[in-house]
Symmetry: C2
Subunit: 268 residues, 2 copies
């Protein structure tokens, strides 16, 4: 049986162009989550790069979001910009009538870059998943506005969910666990989804509403081991209605497998 | 008299294409420093955006470095991808025969996004510039290999220069001050240069040699006040000969005015 994630990132490739479908099953409000779009872009880019004799594992992806992805057909096209011995660089666009997302993608052989580990930050302390607050316990109106919250199983450290009852901690940090709700194990390119699946970290500062990403850069460090992923999102910089959010993901062995930074709005 | 920086980022614009010159005066080894190239790209993008009725201040810039910039003529071209009410998104390329750097640029009115400040990290403690180690005191062979080190005045906290005498601290952090050597005051787009002007942070872990940036994302938060800038670069993630370097810049009022993350090699 195909997992929900694999179904959502299915595409048909002809040359360097792919057709796919974005689904509101992965929506946040009126937009399709940027993370599932980036996972799709990563997979198309990987296929095109391999076909061109290039590398297939995404090491880095920088995206600009021009307008929100909508439920329906989408076209993805990839241009390989440089095919080097150790890395391939590509540019990938997603269009739905007009252009929605554009990304630079650096690819390599992830297993070559995963070892040896010289420096690796430890995951923060947090209660076990069963002692955390479940995304499925979110208020019914939040769940009905977000298909994403039914596709991923998020467990937030109770110490950073005060915002859900009007008492944000003011620390600008969320910690918790994440996995696919249907039991699919995480793989390398799904980490891009998980980097952008938590509620906005500005909720912890009292901000309201999900807000669109302006610019995003994610880096993937290793294939994740099976099991729960640990996530920490933080912001240190909020001004003029803009903020930066940093996300880190550790796999079940405690290894940092991905991190990202995004520039996004913040509504107070 | 024109400052060295203004001379190095001079360009002649015709429509959405500009001609410029990269100079080994701003070199690191055989390459022209990526920071001066990004400052040039920011200025060209700003001019093209304004001509198209768009915004003029860079808020974010994500670049991929396809091959090193070389001394000589360069062509820069900008396409405005989206011109919105509050932000403009553009893509800018720098070519010298072949393509060298490609960047996504998000522009807005920086003064609108600079206030009010909701969250702003404080600069780290460090000795005053005169109590720090000067870049001009670097060994003669290092200075002769790097024009950049004569154009910017870097003062490193003595606590993080042990690597210069074979005793890296192992913390993965550099702290210090920076300004233009000829006394020019910093402005918004020059922050992109300053984000990429410090020695590689991996020196503090015992790595050798300046290494090319693969992918870079910088965010600009406010126009810097005149005077010294404080810089901290850190890495938490080094594996398989790749690392991520985060840089932060505070102006003389103690405000965080810019930050960046880059993916680069690390040679041990």
């Amino acid at each position: 049986m195909t997992s929900e994630y694999d179904e959502a990132t299915t595409f048909e490739l002809t040359g360097n162009r792919a057709t796919a479908r974005l689904s509101s099953d992965w929506g946040i409000g009126n937009a399709v989550n940027g993370g599932i779009i980036m996972s799709l872009l990563a997979q198309v880019t990987s296929s095109v790069s391999r076909s061109a004799g290039g590398h297939g594992d995404v090491l880095g992806l920088s995206a600009v979001f021009l307008s929100p992805g909508a439920d329906g057909a989408a076209e993805v096209s990839t241009d390989v910009l440089r095919n080097g011995r150790s890395m391939t660089t590509a540019q990938t666009l997603l269009s739905q009538e007009d252009e929605r997302v554009r990304a630079f993608v650096t690819l390599g052989d992830i297993d070559r870059y995963a070892e040896p580990i010289t420096l690796n930050p430890q995951p923060p302390a947090m209660p076990e998943p069963d002692a955390c607050v479940r995304s499925s316990d979110a208020p019914p109106d939040a769940l009905s506005q977000s298909g994403l919250l039914s596709r991923v199983d998020i467990r937030l450290d109770p110490a950073c969910v005060g915002w859900a009852v009007g008492q944000p901690s003011g620390n600008g940090e969320l910690r918790g666990w994440i996995r696919f709700a249907d039991g699919r194990e995480p793989d390398l390119h799904s980490l891009l989804l998980f980097l952008d699946a938590f509620p906005p970290v500005t909720f912890d500062l009292g901000a309201k509403g999900w807000v669109p990403t302006v610019q995003f850069s994610g880096y993937l460090h290793a294939r994740p081991a099976p099991g729960w992923l640990q996530v920490r999102t933080r912001t240190t910089t909020v001004a003029g209605g803009l903020h930066e959010e940093d996300a880190q993901i550790w796999d079940s062995t405690g290894r940092l497998v991905a991190q990202s930074r995004q520039l996004a709005s913040a509504r107070f």
